[in-house]
Symmetry: C2
Subunit: 219 residues, 2 copies
């Protein structure tokens, strides 16, 4: 029994606990780290490079994520590899950034600036895209680093990391559309890839969604 009409102390502890999860999602750099971990496990140093911050600062943020039990670690030699503790963490990241995109005009306009062309595929094209990819009418191109592709990728996707794209252009067909994607809507690799491809005379469009967004819609 609660013993009181409203159990203030109990409630306070309950909400405090939930707030630990919210706090983990309340810092821009932690969100960026979470998004990186959505692409697969990564060492601390790697996370620091990708997020453009010091190893010490990444480490501090990772501690926050660890104490919230959102990430787990594995040691291999000198390196410690971090990964998400639960698929639900990736789902929550997707839901948080989706809500942000729906509610915050500032975010909408910032996103429009980076990909202002009307050629972005929207989620509704999802089934159409898969159909076309299955038939080989379009090439779905994953431009993330190879390990991330190996961890998980979209159905029918082919991997050419952005770094290697210029040298490997010949692998791509000129007569079909190329749909490039990367880590998600806040990753700019696919945008750069499309720019390069178009400049070289390919037909290319950019898919906002990454693997996490794709998976979280599979319900």
């Amino acid at each position: 029994m609660t013993g009181m009409k409203n159990g203030r102390k109990i409630k306070d502890t309950l909400y405090e606990q939930v707030a630990r999860i919210g706090k983990a999602f309340s810092s821009p750099k932690r969100l960026e780290i979470i998004e990186l971990l959505c692409q697969g496990e990564k060492s601390v140093e790697r996370l620091a490079q990708e997020a453009s911050i010091s190893v010490k600062l990444v480490s501090a943020h990772l501690r926050e994520l660890r104490t919230a039990h959102l990430v787990e670690t594995r040691r291999e030699g000198k390196n410690i590899y971090y990964r998400l503790a639960d698929k639900a963490v990736a789902d929550l990241w997707v839901q948080v950034h989706t809500l942000a995109e729906n509610r915050l005009e500032e975010l909408q306009s910032a996103l429009q600036k980076i990909a202002s062309q009307p050629d972005d595929l929207v989620p509704s094209d999802r089934e159409k895209l898969m159909k076309a990819a299955r038939k080989g009418e379009v090439v779905v191109l994953d431009v993330r680093p190879a390990e991330e592709y190996l961890t998980a990728h979209l159905p029918f996707a082919r991997s050419i990391p952005l770094d290697e794209l210029r040298q490997r252009l010949s692998e791509l067909p000129r007569d079909r559309s190329i749909v490039a994607y990367c880590r998600g809507p806040y990753c700019l690799m696919a945008i750069d890839a499309v720019e390069l491809l178009k400049h070289e005379g390919y037909r290319a469009v950019h898919l906002r969604e990454g693997v996490a967004e794709w998976a979280s819609e599979e319900r």
Copy 2:
């Protein structure tokens, strides 16, 4: 085009924007306010009473929620009524607290303490419960204040606010199970109701889920 290989400035603005939503979910009291608003619109004073904090403090928290565009307001006479700006806010609240329950042992054990009886219905019983409710084999009882019931309630639910339960016991059958629910797993009203009902010789169990949890699972 991004003009640089990684577009640090752009990325920083994007993640900062998303973090505004995370920040809104990072304070225990704001979470409690969000949960209250999941039950329907409420005045500032009402929120202060329910969350056991001063009007000034509620007002400060509401400002945070307002600047994150998660709530909207309506003025009626002297009062200002707050409501969630989007159903997706309630869904996010459910997903955050669900993740917290799955990941944080401290939260699990705190929850077990308040409802340690093995009679809690789990989400898997959902269809079973609806079937029984449809047939009238069980009574689904909403013990929240009447306005909250009017805003939204579970299918087949009957409303008897906890305050009035003792006087209105005769409205309930003694030969059938009573399934009491309230605002959700952090609200203690249903637990108190079950305690009272059992003490008075009724067959009663407690349903952890509230309207928001119920609705968010409807996918």
